[in-house]
Point group: C2
Chain length 110, copies 2
């Protein structure tokens, strides 16, 4: 089948990125303001390197962007990734509602 392979792996990365509570927290933080990588690292009970990896996962998933400023790397939320995820879930929701409507029709007729 190979339906839209590019988009599929993109979605794999997107949802994989969300599948970790530390990463979800990072997204929440950087969506609300600016943080350096070490600024983020200070928030969690794990090594700097571990947080660095989480940030990398989020970056690959297009959920955040990094920008170098002096010796720091500033992390910001990337709105596009979020929109994409929401859009997909909207699709599912849509399909489900249609099915629910069909079921209601059948019950009404019977």
């Amino acid at each position: 089948m190979v339906v839209d392979q590019l988009r599929e792996t993109e979605l794999d990365r997107l949802f994989q990125a969300f599948a970790d509570s530390t990463r979800r927290d990072i997204v929440r933080r950087v969506t609300g303001g600016e943080y350096s990588v070490s600024g983020l690292a200070a928030l969690y009970a794990m090594s700097f390197a571990a947080v660095q990896k989480h940030v990398a996962v989020l970056e690959r998933a297009s959920l955040i962007t990094k920008e170098k400023r002096g010796r720091e790397q500033i992390v910001r939320g990337d709105h596009e990734g979020l929109q994409k995820a929401r859009r997909l879930l909207d699709e599912y929701e849509q399909i489900w509602r249609q099915r629910a409507a069909r079921m209601a029709d059948i019950l009404a007729e019977g």
Copy 2:
């Protein structure tokens, strides 16, 4: 911190479940109609056992339900899981919009 540990692992499972294209396809299918596990397995180029595992992952994530009918196991979509995921992404979207609005204000003042 340990914020709402139950909900966090729930979300871990939810997004983890979405992070695989086969599983996303299964969700689409069973949201649009009824399938047995073997009916689903026939659709993919992998073993029955592999599909069985995917279904188990989706079940643990509350994205589908199984119901025994004769010797078959009927798989259906579970609306609640989908709603939960959408709600979370809505939260992020909300935060982002607020931030975007603040930025616009600052630019207008400057």
